[in-house]
Symmetry: C2
């Protein structure tokens, strides 16, 4: 009887200890808003920034209406290597349209695209790309364009991973966006890519609604000849939201200075400068692609000047160091990169 | 004793009746979201639209994320007669800057402005106005410009009323904005006027934050030579948010089609067409200035083609009738126009 009672007590005690341990662990996990991040200066910088800007007692407290955070997309929120998703879309469109454009077989830049000449494509100028964009992104209504993008996204597969492009979202960055939103921040995408392209999937993929996507755009014109108004996409650049254009675009579209900005290339430098020039607590971060095993390594991570447009250059690394911007090492700071990683 | 008791009962009864009457009246007033509107088709159209789009059981229910309403500013939300506030600002700036520009005395359009020649100013072309805008709105940083606008607004007085321009907000329209916001709509200003100009006061005056102001803009450039980045305003048009530009601007800045749109001139026609082309419940309204006593009467209300840029033309009235847009008569539909009206 006594031993049986002891046994019962023992079991109870063990159960209680287990409960405390389990509850504690669950609680700790629930309390970590950035579970895909390893502990380190990058994670600590994000946590400290949110604490500084949202705790009422903080001298750096920011009113909810002013809590703006801006994110570059390609290379910052998802994989951009070996080519931006939108570039892939354009190349697919060239191939699809080629039968109706026999002249493209002899005409650059289309000739190289159709021949799959990656070396030549790597050397395309902005003018070359603009010709491709004009041929593939214009001459149709905004609605038709959005339909083309959605259809393409649903079936296209990213190189190396053989998965939809939208699977290649960086899970740690998604957690940062969600964490900031849970703390009253509005998260904007500020991309050098096409505004209308990104808006097609931004809400579903990032939880960012169309009105919070700032990007590059071509001219649109209003046509109501048939009594059913449409906006037609014209083969002419309207706004390039890259480099200085990111600071300009933020002022144009948001009219407020961000408190946090995230990028990964020289095209994001001015966005980070503009953010940092505000007073109070500001956070500037750059994603460094140094994980050849799980994603890609390029730029200064491999001591190689990358041919990729607007890459994380040595100059950017120097500016980041000078300005105390936080560099995120994908290899060291991220416990996992993609949702499908184990 | 009996009479005294009767008296007491009588008093009680009177008090109770009074209480019921007063409580009932207060309650009715609290329940009317549009107290400055007379009952009539315009008020009913607004109430029906909100019911249709926000009641879960309605076949025309709209998700809160999609509840977008757009408002022209000049003449729709505040008085635009005899000249837009921003025009007044520009003319004041010309006078202030004149001592440093002696050549303006001989050079149009500045000459007419400095001479106070209203007849000549009434005939200014868009090119003339652009010269004035270039001289008065550009060549400075965005911050300096916002400071100039704020300083001017604080001391400028509107003609006829001798009050600050911000007193000339239409109280009934403010109630519509507040009513829509209380029902989950986001209210955007979509103005032919300067985006940066309106953003200076939109939050304080209309409760519309800067990121919900879409307007015309001039080119800005990014300058970080001194290590403190600024955006410089250049004397070059970037975007004209008027006429077709309103539909284009809505797609560019918001990326969603409005469910309700409010305007007062031909420059708003495409915004209303674009709104109406969507499915489900849509509301298009035009403010008709037909109240010479309390505000102004111009356009078709007085059977006079008005020289005012983009006025409520006969053609617009014809289109409104054809499309069943709701015309708001300031005279008949509005119980009071300004907050200071009794």
């Amino acid at each position: 009887m006594k031993s049986s009672r002891n046994c019962l007590l023992w079991n109870l005690r063990v159960s209680l200890v287990l409960l405390v341990v389990l509850f504690g662990a669950t609680n700790a996990r629930a309390q970590d808003p950035l579970p895909s991040w390893n502990d380190g200066p990058a994670k600590q910088a994000i946590l400290a920034f949110v604490k500084d800007t949202t705790e009422k007692s903080s001298p750096k407290y920011v009113e909810p209406a002013d809590r703006i955070a801006t994110f570059d997309q390609d290379g910052t929120l998802w994989t951009e290597h070996p080519l931006y998703a939108q570039g892939m879309f354009a190349l697919t469109r060239v191939a699809e349209m080629a039968p109706k454009h026999p002249e493209w077989k002899q005409k650059e830049p289309f000739k190289s695209v159709l021949a799959g000449d990656h070396a030549a494509m790597g050397k395309f100028t902005e003018g070359d790309w603009m010709q491709i964009v004009a041929a593939t992104h214009a001459g149709m209504s905004t609605e038709v364009f959005q339909g083309l993008v959605s259809d393409w996204l649903a079936k296209a597969k990213a190189p190396r991973f053989d998965r939809p492009f939208t699977d290649l979202i960086f899970q740690p960055m998604l957690e940062v966006m969600q964490y900031l939103r849970a703390n009253g921040f509005r998260t904007y995408i500020v991309t050098g890519g096409g505004q209308e392209f990104v808006r097609t999937y931004s809400e579903k993929v990032y939880g960012v609604p169309p009105e919070q996507v700032v990007g590059s755009s071509i001219v649109t014109t209003y046509d109501n000849k048939s009594g059913k108004p449409v906006l037609m996409r014209e083969p002419k650049v309207f706004f390039i939201d890259d480099g200085p254009g990111k600071a300009i675009g933020i002022n144009l579209f948001i009219g407020k200075r961000p408190y946090a900005a995230f990028g990964n290339t020289a095209g994001d430098a001015q966005m980070l400068e503009w953010t940092q020039a505000g007073d109070g607590a500001r956070l500037e971060m750059l994603v460094l692609h140094d994980d050849a095993k799980r994603e890609y390594a390029y730029g200064p991570a491999v001591n190689l000047p990358d041919t990729h447009v607007g890459t994380f250059s040595e100059a950017l690394l120097t500016e980041a160091t000078k300005n105390a911007w936080v560099v995120i090492s994908m290899k060291n700071d991220w416990k996992r990169i993609f949702k499908f990683d184990q």
